[in-house]
C-alpha cells in the first residue's frame, strides 16, 4: 500500500467522504458501449429495440466484451450511424408523442433538447453542446426531420458511444469520479444499460460519493429484474456461451433404416398426375403386380408417342428405389423409365432407356452429370426385362445405380449401370414416369416405389436459440433466488420449454414459455445444460478437449498456452471405430502432447455421456458403451477422480479454487482487464475475502468490488487539468 501511494507521489489521499480508503486507483479505460449495452441503453432512452447485428462487433478484454482497445474503422462508423438512424427514425415516427408537444413550436424542441441530451450522454451538458445539438433540429425538411436528425446525432456521438471518465481535479495522483460517472459505472456493471432516474438524481445531488451510498444503490440494482438479466449475461460471457446460434451442429444420426414401402405407383389406380398418352391402352383388372406379362401388360401402347409421369418429391439425404418391368417387341422402338426428371416443367431427366437398335443404358439430359455403364448389358432387347434403380440424393450429389435383367433370370448382385451427378445442374427432385415411341407394342409393369424414411430436416437455429434462452432463464431465476455460487453448478433444476425439454431429457413440457423443471438424475447444474455441452463440441461429435479446456480455463482459471511456434506436431490418425474417449487417448500416449492434455482430457471425459447437442447417451458410435469417468489433476483442492459428470461437478462446486476463479472473473469483468498481481488491486482481495465458503453469493462479490477505491477513483493522467 505504501509503495503504491509513493508511486503516485503523494501521501495516502483523504477519501471524499472521510471513510477509510484503500488508496488505490488505476487508469480509467474509455469503454465503448458493448452491443448489449448499446441496445439496452436505446431501449431505456428511446423505447426502441434495434437489431444488434447493425452494430460493430464487440472486442473482448479479459474474456468479457469491453471495447477498450480497438478504434473504429470507416465501416464501423457507418454501422454506428446506421444503427443510430434506425433507432432515431423509429423513435420519432410519431414525433409529437415522442416530444410530448408540437415540434413546430420552437419552445417545444428547446425544452426537450437539454434534458434529452443529458440523459443520452449521461452527464451535464455544456451550453455550446446544447447549441450545436439544437442546430441539428433545424435541419431536414420538417421540424420532425430535425428532431430525428438531432436524435441521430446524439446517438452517433462519442459522448453516447463511449463512457468517458474525464474531468475532475487530481489530488494525490488520483481523481475522484463524479456522481454521473459512478452512476454509469453502477448501471453498466449491474444492469448493462444507462442509469435510471434514481441514479441520475443521486448524481445530481452528489449522493454517490461514499461507499455506503454506492453499496445501497448496487443492492437496489441487483434486486431489480434488470439485475437478474445482467447477471445472466455475465455468465453467458464468462463461459463464452453466446456464440452458439452462429455455430453449426447436427444431431447424431439414427441407425440406418431399411427402405420403407411407398404406396405403389399403380398404373391402373389413377395415381399418375398427368399423361400425354395418346392411344394408351388401359385394360382394367388384368394386371399382375409389378411383373410384366406379355399376355397381360400393366399398361401398353402402340402409338409412336407415349409419355406418362407422376410426381415424386425427393428430399436431400433420401434414398428411393424404383422397381418395375418393361419391354418392346420391335427392336426399333424406343422406351424407358424416367426416375428423376424435371418433366413436365423442364426437359431434364435421368432415365433407363432403350434407343432404336440399341441396348439399355442410363442416360441423362439437361444436366452436366455423366452416366456410365459399369459393364455391357447383353440382353435381348425384344424380351421383357425387370429393373431396379436406386437413387440417392445427398447434399452434394445424386447417385443412381441400376440393375437390369431378363424377366425370370436371377437378379444381378451388383448394379451394372451407375451414374454419379455432382454437377451444380443436377436434379434434386422431380417426377417419375414411363415413356415410349416408335413401332410395335411397348409395355410396362406396375412401378413399385420404395423410399427411405425421409430425414426430418434439422434446423439448428431455433434449437440454439432455445439453448441460450433456456440457460438465461435459468440464470435469471437463480439470480432472483439469491445467486448462490454453488447452486449454479449443483442445481437439480433447470428452465425448459417444449423445444429445450427433449434435449434435457425432460418429458411433459408444452408451450414456448419457460417453466421450472426437475432435472433427470444424469444432469446437474449449468454445466450439464445443452448450451454448455453444445458450445464445447464439434459440429457432429462431442469434444473432451474443448470441454476439458473450458473447465480448466474458466472454472480453474488456468492458462493453457499453445505449443510454441516451430514445434511441429503430427496429428494422430484417428480410428473411427473407437469411442471418442479412445480416440482422444492418443494425446496422452504421445509424451509431447501429454503434458497439457493430461490436464484437459480427463476432465472432458466426464461430459462424454452427452453428445454435441447435449443429448444424454449411454452408447456412442453405434453400440460402444460410454465411459464418463475421469480425473482433475493439478487443480488444487478440486483434484481427484470421479466416475461420472455428477462427481466431476460436485468436486468443482466444493472447491475453493473454483470459487476464487469465479470471483476473479467478476473482477476482470468489472475492471476490464486481467488481474495484475504486482499492482494488487485491493478490490480483488476484498472480493476474494468476501467469498470464502459455499454460502457465497454474487451479491457478496459485487459489494466488495463497488465499495473499493478503484470503483470510485481513477489515476490522474496527462490529460487532466491540474
Amino acid at each position: 500500500l505504501c509503495l503504491l501511494t509513493l508511486l503516485f507521489g503523494c501521501d495516502r489521499p483523504e477519501d471524499d467522504a472521510g471513510e477509510p480508503a484503500d488508496g488505490f486507483a488505476e487508469r480509467s479505460a474509455t469503454r465503448r458501449l458493448t452491443v448489449e449495452e448499446w441496445q439496452n441503453t436505446v431501449v431505456d432512452l428511446l423505447g426502441i429495440e434495434v437489431d444488434p447485428s447493425l452494430l460493430p462487433a464487440d472486442e473482448l478484454t479479459a474474456g468479457f466484451p469491453a471495447n477498450v482497445s480497438a478504434s473504429l474503422s470507416d465501416l464501423e462508423v457507418e454501422a454506428t450511424l446506421a444503427a443510430a438512424e434506425s433507432a432515431a427514425a423509429a423513435a420519432t415516427s410519431d414525433v409529437e408523442l415522442f416530444l410530448g408537444c408540437d415540434p413546430a413550436e420552437r419552445a417545444c424542441v428547446e425544452a426537450w433538447a437539454g434534458p434529452f441530451l443529458e440523459r443520452a450522454w449521461r452527464r451535464p451538458i455544456e451550453a455550446d453542446e446544447r447549441t450545436s445539438f439544437l442546430a441539428l433540429t433545424e435541419l431536414g425538411g420538417t421540424p420532425a426531420d430535425g428532431v430525428r436528425l438531432a436524435v441521430t446525432g446524439a446517438l452517433v456521438s462519442g459522448s453516447f458511444l463511449y463512457r468517458p471518465e474525464v474531468g475532475g481535479t487530481p489530488a494525490g495522483g488520483r481523481v475522484a469520479l463524479d456522481g454521473w460517472q459512478v452512476a454509469s459505472r453502477l448501471s453498466y456493471l449491474l444492469w448493462r444499460t444507462m442509469p435510471d432516474e434514481i441514479l441520475f438524481e443521486a448524481a445530481r445531488t452528489e449522493a454517490l460519493s461514499s461507499p455506503e451510498q454506492i453499496e445501497e444503490q448496487a443492492l437496489r440494482l441487483l434486486a431489480d429484474p434488470r439485475g437478474a438479466e445482467a447477471l445472466a449475461s455475465f455468465h453467458v460471457d464468462w463461459l463464452g456461451l453466446g456464440s452458439l446460434p452462429l455455430l453449426d451442429r447436427v444431431p447424431t444420426p439414427p441407425p440406418p433404416q431399411p427402405l420403407q414401402s411407398h404406396p405403389l405407383l399403380d398404373l391402373d389406380a389413377g395415381l399418375w398426375d398427368q399423361t400425354d398418352a395418346q392411344g394408351l391402352t388401359l385394360p382394367a383388372g388384368t394386371f399382375a403386380d409389378g411383373v410384366l406379362d406379355t399376355g397381360a401388360p400393366a399398361i401398353s401402347s402402340d402409338t409412336s408417342d407415349t409419355e406418362i409421369y407422376a410426381h415424386h418429391g425427393v428430399e436431400l439425404g433420401s434414398t428411393f428405389m424404383l422397381r418395375g418391368s418393361l419391354g418392346a417387341d420391335d427392336p426399333d422402338a424406343s422406351l424407358g423409365v424416367t426416375f428423376l426428371s424435371g418433366l413436365p416443367a423442364s426437359n431434364a431427366w435421368y432415365r433407363l432407356e432403350r434407343r432404336p437398335g440399341e441396348i439399355y443404358a442410363l442416360e441423362s439430359a439437361g444436366t452436366d452429370g455423366a452416366c456410365a455403364a459399369e459393364s455391357t448389358l447383353s440382353l435381348d432387347v425384344t424380351a421383357s426385362i425387370d429393373f431396379e434403380i436406386e437413387v440417392e440424393a445427398t447434399f452434394s450429389a445424386v447417385t443412381i445405380e441400376a440393375r437390369v435383367w431378363a424377366t425370370g433370370a436371377p437378379r444381378p448382385n451388383l448394379p451394372q449401370l451407375v451414374c454419379v451427378d455432382d454437377s451444380f445442374t443436377r436434379l434434386t427432385d422431380g417426377t417419375v414416369g414411363v415413356w415410349s415411341s416408335g413401332p410395335g407394342i411397348k409395355a410396362w409393369g406396375d412401378l413399385l416405389l420404395q423410399t427411405s424414411v425421409p430425414e426430418e430436416p434439422f434446423d439448428f437455429q431455433p434449437v440454439a436459440a432455445a439453448f441460450v434462452d433456456g440457460a438465461r432463464s435459468f440464470l435469471e431465476t437463480w439470480a432472483a433466488d439469491g445467486a448462490r455460487l454453488d447452486e449454479l453448478l449443483l442445481a437439480d433444476w433447470a428452465m425448459a420449454n417444449q423445444t429445450l425439454a427433449p434435449y434435457l431429457g425432460v418429458e411433459g413440457v408444452t408451450g414456448e414459455s419457460w417453466q421450472r423443471v426437475t432435472l433427470p438424475p444424469e444432469r446437474i447444474g449449468l454445466l450439464t445444460q445443452p448450451l454448455f455441452l453444445s458450445v464445447f463440441a464439434k459440429p457432429d461429435q462431442s469434444s473432451p478437449i474443448l470441454r476439458g479446456k473450458a473447465v480448466r480455463e474458466m472454472l480453474l482459471c488456468d492458462v493453457l498456452l499453445p505449443p510454441p511456434p516451430g514445434v511441429v506436431t503430427i496429428a494422430p490418425d484417428l480410428d473411427p471405430s473407437l469411442t471418442t474417449r479412445e480416440r482422444f487417448a492418443e494425446h496422452v500416449a504421445d509424451p509431447s502432447c501429454a503434458a497439457c492434455h493430461q490436464m484437459i482430457d480427463p476432465i472432458g471425459f466426464g461430459f462424454e455421456a452427452f453428445d454435441q447437442l447435449g443429448v444424454y447417451r449411454e452408447f456412442e458410435n453405434g453400440n460402444l458403451p460410454v465411459d464418463a469417468s475421469g480425473e482433475i489433476v493439478s487443480g488444487g483442492d478440486a483434484d481427484g477422480t470421479f466416475v461420472d459428470v455428477r462427481g466431476l461437478v460436485e468436486q468443482l462446486a466444493s472447491s475453493d479454487e473454483v470459487r476464487s476463479c469465479i470471483v476473479t472473473h467478476w473482477y476482470r469483468y468489472a475492471a476490464a482487464h486481467l488481474e495484475d498481481p504486482e499492482a494488487g488491486d485491493p478490490a480483488l482481495t476484498a472480493a476474494l475475502d468476501a467469498c470464502t465458503d459455499e454460502t457465497c453469493r454474487v451479491e457478496d462479490i459485487v459489494r466488495a468490488i463497488v465499495t473499493s477505491d478503484s470503483f470510485r477513483f481513477r489515476a490522474a493522467h496527462d490529460g487532466d487539468t491540474p
Binding site: 479505460a29 437489431d51 460471457d237 456464440s243 455455430l247 459440429p539 490418425d573 476482470r668
Partner: protein, 439 residues
C-alpha cells in the same frame, strides 16, 4: 437474415421525400460510369487452415508446369499465374497460436501487438502490429476512388468475431478493418442501393451534418483523455471525417449485380452463394472504380465452415487436423482448396470480361491468394501456399512456378508492393527481409 436497413427503408421514414420513391432509378451501365483507367488494382484473397502440399505443388519446370488438382481450376489463367513455393510466414517470432500468427502477421510483416486479451476460449491474443500490405499500397498510391479500400468477407466472425482473427486488414497497430460480410449491405454502401441520385443527395447531406456533430463532440472529448487513449479516439475521428467526406462525393455508381432476396448471412450452407455474391460485388466495385484495393476473406482464421456441399461433415479446421493417412479427409481438403481455387478463377474471369484501358481489368489487377498456414495438421508456417493471379499490367511476368528455399514472406510482400509501383526497399520487420523475390 440481414438487418441492415436499406436506404429505401430509411427513406420511407423521411416522410416529406417519400413521394419521389416512385421515380425510376436511372441506371448507368458499368462501362460508362467507370473511368476506363487502366490503373493497377490489388486484391488479397484469404483462405485458411493450410493446404495439401502434394495436390497443391505444380509438376514441371519454372516456366513449363502442370497444375495439381488444387490449382487446376486456375489453368485458364496459367499464363498470368505465379505459383510460389518455399516462402516462410515468419515475422520475428512473437508468441501466439499458429493460426493467429499466420493470419495476423501475414500481411503486416511484423509481430502481433502484445497479447493482452484473454478470449473466451482462454487464449491470450494480440492484434495486428502494423498496417497490412493492402493498406500500405493504398496509403502510397492514394487512389482517387470513393473508397480507399474495401474489405469483403464470407461468414468471417463465426468463432472469432470478437478478436482480430476475423479481421485481415489493418491501417496500423490495433487499427483493424473488419470485413463487410453482408452482400446486401455492400450493395447499399458501395453502389448506393436503389435510391435515385436526388434521394441519395438528401440522405447524404443529412448524414454529413450528423457526422459533423459527432466529430465536434469527439474533438471536445479527446484533449481530456490521457495521451495513450487519445490515439484510439483520434482514429475514430478520422474515420468519421472520412465517411463524411465520402458521403459528399459518392453518387450511385454504376450498374451493380443485384444480390437478390436476402439470405441468412450466417447459415453455413449459404456459404457458397454468399461467396459468389461477394465476389461479384468485388468485381463490380473494381469495375466501377469504387476502389482499387480490396481484400476478400473466406471465413476467418481457424475457420470451422462445414463444406457440406463437397461432402464434408466436419468443420474445416477439424478436418485440416486429420492425419496424412486419413485419405477421405485429405481428399476433402483437396476438394475444399480446389473449390476456393474455382472461386478465385471466377473472380479472374469476371475481371477479364471487363474492358479497362487498353485491355481488360484482369490485365491491370494483381490477386494474391494467401493462407494462414502451410499445412493444417502440422500447423507449420513454413512453405505457405502463395499464388498470384494476374500480372499488375505486366509488372510480374506470370506463367511461373517458383521454388524458393526459406525466403521470408515479407520478401513476397515487398515484391507485391513493387509490382504495384510502391517504392519500398523493406516491408515490415527489417530483420526479416532479404530483398524482393525474383518473380
Amino acid at each position: 437474415m440481414s438487418f441492415w436497413p436499406t436506404r429505401r427503408s430509411l427513406l420511407a421514414s423521411l416522410g416529406g421525400t417519400a413521394a419521389v420513391l416512385a421515380a425510376p432509378f436511372p441506371q448507368t451501365r458499368a462501362g460508362e460510369a467507370r473511368a476506363a483507367t487502366g490503373a493497377k488494382r490489388f486484391v488479397v484473397v484469404y483462405s485458411g487452415n493450410g493446404t495439401i502440399r502434394d495436390a497443391w505443388v505444380p509438376v514441371g519446370s519454372s516456366t513449363s508446369f502442370t497444375l495439381g488438382p488444387i490449382l487446376a481450376p486456375l489453368a485458364p489463367f496459367q499464363s498470368a499465374l505465379t505459383v510460389i513455393d518455399g516462402v516462410d510466414l515468419y515475422s520475428g517470432g512473437a508468441a501466439g497460436n499458429p493460426h493467429h500468427l499466420g493470419f495476423g502477421c501475414a500481411l503486416t510483416g511484423v509481430d502481433l501487438v502484445d497479447g493482452k486479451y484473454l478470449d473466451n476460449q482462454g487464449n491470450y491474443y494480440g492484434s495486428q502490429g502494423g498496417p497490412t500490405v493492402d493498406q500500405v499500397i493504398a496509403d502510397a498510391l492514394l487512389p482517387p476512388t470513393p473508397f480507399r479500400s474495401l474489405e469483403f468477407g464470407v461468414q468471417s466472425g463465426v468463432l472469432y468475431g470478437h478478436t482480430s482473427m476475423s479481421k485481415l486488414s489493418a491501417r496500423g497497430p490495433t487499427q483493424l478493418l473488419p470485413p463487410d460480410i453482408d452482400p446486401y449491405h455492400v450493395f447499399d454502401r458501395v453502389f448506393g442501393g436503389s435510391l435515385t441520385p436526388e434521394q441519395l443527395a438528401v440522405v447524404r447531406a443529412e448524414q454529413a451534418s450528423v457526422l459533423d456533430f459527432a466529430w465536434q463532440d469527439l474533438a471536445r472529448l479527446v484533449p481530456k483523455l490521457s495521451s495513450e487513449e487519445r490515439v484510439r479516439l483520434e482514429v475514430h475521428m478520422e474515420s468519421v471525417r472520412s465517411v463524411e467526406t465520402r458521403l459528399q462525393t459518392v453518387g450511385p455508381a454504376c450498374d451493380p449485380p443485384d444480390p437478390g432476396a436476402p439470405l441468412d448471412i450466417w447459415a453455413n450452407d449459404n456459404f457458397p452463394v454468399l461467396a459468389e455474391l461477394q465476389l461479384e460485388l468485388l468485381a463490380a466495385a473494381l469495375a466501377c472504380d469504387q476502389t482499387r484495393i480490396a481484400t476478400f476473406m473466406f471465413s476467418e482464421s481457424g475457420s470451422q465452415t462445414v463444406y457440406r456441399w463437397l461432402g464434408a461433415t466436419a468443420g474445416h479446421h477439424d478436418l485440416s487436423h486429420m492425419g496424412d493417412s486419413d485419405v477421405e479427409s485429405q481428399d476433402l481438403l483437396v476438394a475444399t482448396n480446389a473449390w476456393v481455387a474455382e472461386r478465385v478463377a471466377s473472380l479472374a474471369a469476371a475481371l477479364q470480361a471487363i474492358p479497362d484501358g487498353a485491355g481488360t481489368l484482369f490485365d491491370h489487377t494483381l490477386i494474391y491468394w494467401m493462407n494462414d498456414l502451410g499445412v493444417g495438421n502440422t500447423h507449420t508456417l513454413a512453405n505457405v501456399p502463395a499464388v498470384l493471379v494476374g500480372t499488375a499490367s505486366g509488372a510480374i511476368p506470370g506463367g511461373r512456378f517458383h521454388t524458393f528455399e526459406g525466403r521470408w514472406h515479407n520478401d513476397l510482400l515487398l515484391s507485391l508492393c513493387q509490382a504495384m509501383d510502391v517504392d519500398l526497399d523493406v516491408f515490415g520487420n527489417p530483420e526479416v527481409n532479404a530483398g524482393p523475390l525474383p518473380l
